[in-house]
Point group: C2
């Protein structure tokens, strides 16, 4: 069954530590870790979103190494997970790719470490995903997180992962936990 | 409340891709990501286990930078999470540190990506942790995983994270998901 959940890892527009809007550099570990999570939980696709030409080329080089180059022979499981990755210049470009594939507008779900006035629970989102005719596009911010505009422009904002007074997980850990909460546990019993 | 769960990230003895027993190099991202998870979920401590002198020095240098050096000023939340980290040469040395602190033998719990004959469920382990008088030491393997001997020597082996026919998560993602399954969700309602 084709998954109706897609991941976007946003490198622009996001905040830096002074809450200025910037474009962050791509982190190699993000691509690998998130692609492996995406493959584990059967995600439809993983979009690395960056407008910077140098970063686009970096991602393409990494993908080429593991999907076609020496890496694909050295570690075929990495080839398998990285086959889910695409690079786009903007959130919109990724959004249009998903919406085009489904012939239906994808619903955007923003995430963040801080509480949000109108956030939805994991349980609520998990139930939404059961509507298999609608694609969902979940956005994760790098740096100091997604901008207010990206959140305002999303259909939903997901509740933060609550810790014991500490909300500074890496985006890699946040993706792992959120995908497990949305798609984990029931995997074996549902299919 | 002091947590009774401790994490060990094992760099030796573990398997390499040919199932030979080796010592892996320490990965900087592992230390940061796992320490941040440990702090988020209120873990008692995080032991980086490596017998290699060069790797011990590398970890100490990273810890020093973020706990006392320029990093502690640049990013105080990192100082907070990395304060949970200690380096030991062996699993036993970490085990003894925990058991000494608690004046009681810590129970060891091994993890792995493959099914194990006698593995315990996440729910079972979650209930075990409610016995607040007993410390538990959960071990994660780097490379191709913990050796058979380490698993045999543990009190329990935890069930693997089940994916859709793909079990190749990074150890960072596995730690994040497992801690959330053991200590997440209920954090807000229980305290």
């Amino acid at each position: 069954m084709v998954s109706n959940l897609y991941i976007g890892l946003v490198h622009h527009p996001i905040y830096d530590r002074r809450k200025e809007v910037v474009a962050t550099a791509v982190t190699n570990f993000d691509i690998h870790d998130i692609a492996r999570c995406a493959r584990t939980f059967g995600i439809g696709g993983f979009f690395v979103i960056t407008p910077l030409e140098s970063q686009i080329q970096l991602v393409e080089r990494i993908l080429c190494h593991w999907r076609e180059g020496a890496g694909s022979v050295y570690n075929p499981t990495r080839k398998e997970s990285l086959s889910l990755v695409r690079v786009t210049r903007t959130i919109d470009e990724a959004d249009q790719a998903i919406s085009g594939l489904w012939q239906k507008r994808a619903k955007k779900v923003a995430t963040g470490a801080s509480p949000h006035r109108e956030s939805v629970s994991f349980e609520f989102f998990r139930e939404l995903l059961e509507d298999r005719d609608t694609p969902y596009f979940i956005l994760f911010g790098t740096g100091w997180g997604l901008t207010k505009e990206v959140k305002d422009d999303s259909d939903y904002v997901l509740a933060p992962i609550e810790g014991k007074g500490y909300n500074h997980l890496s985006v890699r850990s946040a993706v792992a936990i959120i995908l497990d909460r949305l798609l984990g546990n029931r995997i074996n019993s549902s299919e």
